[in-house]
Amino acid sequence: MSEHDFLAIAPITTVAVFSLIVMLVDALVKKNTSLMQTLSVVGLLGGIGVAIWTLPKSLNGFNGLVAGGGMTNLFDILFCSAGILTVFLAKDYLERLGGHFNEFYTLLLMATSGAMLMAHATDFITLFVGVELMSICFYVLAGFLRRQVRSNEAAIKYFLLGAFASGFLLYGMALIYGTVGGTGYADVAANAATVEMPFIFWAGVALMIVGLAFKVAAFPFHQWAPDVYEGAPTVIAGFMSTAGKAAAFSAFIIFLNSVYGSGVEGTDRVQILLAVLAVGSMFIGNVTAIAQTNVKRMLAYSSVAHAGYMLIGLAAGSPDGSFGIIYYLIAYLFMQLGAFAIVGLLENEKGCNLTFDDYKGLSKRRPGLAMVMAIFMFSLTGIPPFAGFFGKYQLFKAAIGAEMTWLAICGVVASVISVWFYLGLVIAMFFRDSEEKQAEGGTLGGLSTAALAVAVVGTLVIGFLPQAIYDLLS
């Protein structure tokens, strides 16, 4: 073991160590909620700091089990930022819904370190450890409001289906290992073109794609997402649908790059498959979202569609495509987490006040929130000059660059469909009056305000200064 090994995983270690510290402090110190929050934020900020520090390096550690530096660390920053925003939002929300236990922070930090491990993984074993670390924390977090039936249902369903998917993921890894003779991505890249039984290799790739498609909630493996997002605590749903999705995409990108880079015959089929999954996700997600009356479910279905948009980048199979995904994930982080944050704020003690009808006339009752929500909705729709537009622009550009113009067109059409429900919510908030007096959800605490402000500023900055973000990423 060398210095390199530790530098490669340094951001993960930081967050993981803090998750343990949080657990210990919880056991030793009484009345410690704000201390827990501080420690969590410090840990996540530390993760960001270390990630920035090691960003310029190109690291390989533990005999090719993990990598570090560059794009990987960008993902670290993304996950930790999502974590910080979630911590900010969690207190108000959980206290109001009567589920404020300190384990929340330990689990959140562990899930974050799992996500980071997925991005760092360059080997099937590390990938699987990362996936499971993140997923198991998510299962628990989804059921965190343990007095609510919906939350319990979400946890169980997520666990059942997640275990099912993990099984296929693992089986896919095994098949690939059997053909290329190693568990590292490097082995795949080196040997895939010369395997003796290509159909076994491809079956393995197929199962890996299925497993990861489940994690990003892509069609037709998406059906868990609406049920889980609806039942899970809203702040967690926001975290799962941003950081969780981002983690799966990071693994997706690195894995597929090793397949594309191996020169094996048949990668065009992978591209077509991903394109079909993309189209299916975009259309099923957006079309089904139209029929939803519950805003949380609407956001869940729309997150399926957003997975579809990002799959376009994978289908393009080019550096531009990967770049587009990262760009989109950053934009998506702010707008999606922001939207979930507002949903969480308006949710009342019994977990109600979530339907479109409840949002009617919001602009009169809480003009600030309605305004901010409208920004997120516009951005999610992909209307310039907000972040979502430039994210989609990068992805569609990648598709056209890969001579898949039809895919970009499908993306545009799907975006048009999404106008229906995103702007439907804006119309409800601004142009409809509520018939009865609504229970109003929680007051806006200082931390929540900060989190919302960050989300809004992020959405606007990415939208107004796309070039700056572009240069930063390049």
């Binding site: 289906l161 296929f168 037709p220 059906q223 868990w224 079309v287 469909i417 796309p466």
Partner: protein
């Protein structure tokens, strides 16, 4: 120095806009708001003066500076930056906008005193300055267009500033209608400008002024050049209120008077002249366009000046006068006298801002009365306002040595030399009307018997924040003309000409300039001075010596009077020729046929289909985990099948 100061010049007004707009209500104090609002324009003016002297120190070839603030959009070969170009031309506009702008801000502190929208007013005004600076400092069409639309927005907001007041305009009843009228008219022009920009981009692959000018003529055919420049000119017509897009400006007087002075006289309406002057090299390539510009302009100048003869609202007089004077500027552009146009922009900014602020002072002192028939004899109540108003009037009428004489004379002389005698004749007639209507307003408002109701109206002089700007502008309106002394007096006396020469060198080379003999030039000068004095004299006879004459005059020339009173029936012609047919076609064909039938039919059909699909998909989502697994399994089989056997 330029790269350090320019960002401040640009951004300070924007900061003022944000401060006043967002926090104005909290700040509350008019003093604080007014100080912030004025300072963020006055400081840039100081910086601009510093830059001006720096530029003066540089050799004439080295006076153009390019500053890129940040890159906006880059897509493939196409890129647009927030990039600015400070050269002799934009420097003049920069000085006018910030200089006259800060005086008008200062004046507004007094004028808007007590208005409940005080902070809103200053934030809009600051935003306007920001946008206007973008417009004139841009080094490419797109940033200019950004400013162009921005000033349009501010104009809309400020015309309708008193949105709840009634306003007697042409075919409109509310200030809001006047704002809408201005906005819509400008949209028509903007469409032209956009198309012009598209053509230029498709031909040159760039929107940068310098690159287009250096790439001329490129592969563009003469016809294409004419079309592109005419499209740009249409945009200029909208912004600068030239026929056929002129009717919005008189109604724009619904806004507060400082707005009329700043936006609808001194700065924004000259944006069209700026656009043409900035692209002088381009316009000079098409003689057809140049002829059309001159023709449209001289028609506008004359028609507007004649309508001004019969107006009773003091601001309306000045509004028609502005339209007419803008016509003069375009005449200069049309005959290739670029410098003369810019010269007149400058002098006009001084004397017209002065006249508007003077009229505002009168209106303020008369408790919001604008009808000159209900004034009279105000000279003794408002001596400061009176003196400065007369100075402004002498300047616009073109009496030597006031500034308007020199710029107007240069335009008329150029029209005679490079255009033809008819152009000169019509222009001279318009100049005569100008002298007449402006002194008619002087005599009606300040001389003669007091026709107002003494029990309700007690005229009073305005506060110092209002009279100081008046005096500063009066000085400028008096001496501003010396920057452009006629060439007959010597080779180098026309300072402005020498200053602007490098900017217009390329364009002037394309024009075949004719020079007048010195004798002819002296004669023309004498004629234009006589015209001005004749106009003033007639006005004096009719409105001071024998007030009954004007009624008798109106009686014996009933037809003409009616024509002028109804503004040459331009609005009526619009109503019949444009508004009604468009309305009918929209209602019967576009609304019922295209929109409701084809578009709505298709869209509603599609929407219904999507909605049904949505319900169907929703039913697939049963909530039962076993079924999800089933779908999952099918998915897996298909994926494996495709990847393993899909290759055949």
């Amino acid at each position: 120095m330029a790269s350090t100061l320019l960002p401040f010049i640009l951004l300070l007004p924007f900061v003022g806009f944000l401060l006043n707009g967002l926090l104005g209500k909290k700040i509350g104090s008019e003093k604080a708001i007014g100080t912030i609002g004025t300072a963020v324009v006055a400081l840039p003016f100081v910086f601009a003066v510093v830059l001006f002297f720096e530029m003066l120190g540089a050799p004439p070839e080295g006076r153009t500076m390019h500053v890129t603030l940040l890159s906006w959009i880059a897509a493939g070969d196409f890129s647009v930056d927030f990039a600015y170009q400070l050269d002799q031309l934009s420097m003049i506009f920069l000085l006018i906008v910030t200089g006259v702008g800060s005086l008008i801000h200062l004046y507004s502190i007094g004028y808007m005193h007590g208005d409940r929208g005080f902070f809103r007013f200053f934030s809009y005004l600051n935003l306007f300055i920001f946008m206007m600076l973008n417009l004139v400092l841009a080094d490419n069409f797109l940033v200019t267009f950004l400013g162009w639309e921005g000033v349009g927005l501010c104009s809309f907001l400020l015309i309708g500033f008193w949105y709840d007041r009634e306003f007697e305009g042409t075919a409109i009843k509310w200030t809001g209608d006047a704002a809408k009228k201005a906005f819509v008219m400008n949209r028509i022009g903007d469409l032209g400008m956009l198309i012009g920009m598209f053509i230029l981009f498709s031909q040159f692959g760039t929107l940068k002024y310098a690159e287009i000018a250096s790439g001329l003529p490129g592969s563009m055919s003469a016809e294409m050049m004419t079309i592109a420049t005419l499209c740009l000119f249409l945009g200029a017509c909208g912004k600068s209120a030239q026929i056929p897009l002129s009717v919005w400006l008189p109604d724009a007087m619904a806004g507060p008077t400082p707005v009329s002075a700043l936006i609808h006289a001194a700065t924004m309406v000259t944006a069209g002249i700026f656009l043409v002057a900035r692209n002088a090299a381009l316009f000079s390539m098409s003689h057809t366009t140049m002829a059309i510009v001159a023709g449209v302009a001289v028609t506008t100048a004359l028609i507007a000046a004649t309508v001004g003869l019969v107006q009773n609202d003091i601001k309306k007089v000045l509004a028609y006068s502005t339209v007419s004077q803008l016509g003069f500027m375009f005449v200069a552009l049309g005959v290739g006298a670029w410098t003369a146009a810019v010269f007149h922009v400058m002098t006009h900014a001084f004397f017209k801002a002065l006249l508007f602020l003077g009229s505002g002072s009168v209106i303020h002192g008369m408790h919001e009365e604008q009808d000159m028939q209900k004034m009279g004899g105000l000279k003794k109540y408002m001596p400061q306002t009176y003196k400065t108003y007369v100075i402004g009037s002498l300047a616009i009428a073109g009496v030597i040595p006031f500034s308007g004489f020199f710029s107007k004379d240069e335009i008329l002389a150029s029209a005679f030399a490079n255009g033809n005698a008819i152009l000169w004749g019509v222009g001279a007639l318009a100049a005569f009307c100008t002298a007449f209507y402006i002194f008619r307003s002087v005599f009606l408002a300040f001389h003669g018997e007091e026709r107002f109701d003494h029990t309700h109206v007690h005229p009073h002089e305005s506060p110092a924040t209002m009279t100081i700007p008046l005096w500063i502008l009066a000085v400028l309106a008096t001496v501003g003309g010396f920057l452009g002394l006629p060439i007959v007096l010597g080779e180098h006396v026309h300072v402005l000409h020498n200053w602007l020469e490098p900017v217009f060198a390329q364009a002037s080379a394309n024009m075949h300039g004719h020079h007048l003999s010195h004798t002819l030039e002296w004669i023309l000068m004498g004629v234009s001075l006589s015209i001005a004095i004749l106009g003033i004299f007639l006005a004096y006879r009719m409105y001071v010596k024998r007030p009954e004459l004007s009624d008798r005059f109106a009686g014996s020339f009933k037809g003409l009077y009616k024509l002028l009173w109804n503004k040459w029936y331009v609005d009526e012609v619009y109503e019949e020729a444009v508004v009604k047919p468009v309305w009918k076609a929209s209602k019967s064909v576009l609304l019922k046929g295209v929109d409701k039938g084809i578009i709505d039919g298709t869209l509603h059909g599609l929407a219904k289909l999507t909605g049904e699909a949505s319900n169907l998909f929703r039913k697939i989502q049963t909530g039962i985990a076993q079924q999800y697994v089933l779908v999952f399994m099918i998915g897996i089989l298909v994926v494996i099948g495709w990847l393993v056997f899909g290759g055949g």
